[in-house]
């Protein structure tokens, strides 16, 4: 129970930070789900994809309001992604949970470097 309350609070914080620094929520959802709620890496990644949807929906509505979204291009990218998704799911499931967790840790370091780099300007 308390883990869910904590996860909710961290979710709120993750959404806030994601909005503030212009990164996706998933980068923070996955470690919240593994380290706080004790999910395996693969279950956390799967659930993170679902958890992203409310944030994306809210963000897209706002951007739609400002007229910034090119829906035709978004649709083409989205449809193109389907093939990649199938391969990505297959690869993630064929890797061990530990290797997947380490790869994700490496990804976090890259994003950290990117955020720090942008802060230089």
């Amino acid at each position: 129970m308390w883990a869910f309350v904590l996860a909710g609070a961290l979710g709120l914080a993750a959404g806030f930070l994601a909005g503030l620094f212009g990164v996706g929520g998933g980068i923070l959802f996955v470690p919240t789900l593994t380290l706080v709620l004790g999910l395996s890496q693969i279950h956390a990644e799967a659930s993170s994809l679902l958890a992203i949807l409310p944030t994306v929906a809210v963000g897209a509505l706002r951007q739609q309001h400002y007229g910034n979204i090119r829906w035709r291009s978004a649709g083409i990218i989205g449809l193109g992604s389907l093939g990649g998704v199938v391969v990505g799911v297959f690869l993630a499931e064929s890797l061990s949970d530990e290797l997947l967790r380490r790869l994700f840790g490496g990804l976090l370091l890259l994003v950290a470097a990117q955020v720090a780099w942008r802060a230089r300007r």
Partner: protein, 113 residues
Amino acid sequence: MRLVAIGLAAGFFSALFGVGGGIVIVPLLLLWVGWKERPAMATSLGAIGVTALAGAIAYGFRGELELGPAAAVGIPAALGAVAGTALQQRAASRALSLGFAALLAAIGVRLLV
């Protein structure tokens, strides 16, 4: 054609790591297709909706989706994102960005070892 290729790369990355794929889409739209930052970031949101939904469904069929935890994290996050985005222009100072980078790096190291 470039958009399809960007989608393929983003979908692979998104499903492999459980992230939206904006980290792939936005830089490629900027550098490869020559878009400006604002439409690139906004359009990536529309694409991510499709990508993340497809990934969630694909994992769901394999029984790896946990609905309770996803809702516990995802629904409050949408509220937080509204506040964070509203503050974006004013608050993302250098010190704050470096602090956030340090937080990400710390979690990354924690997961690596």
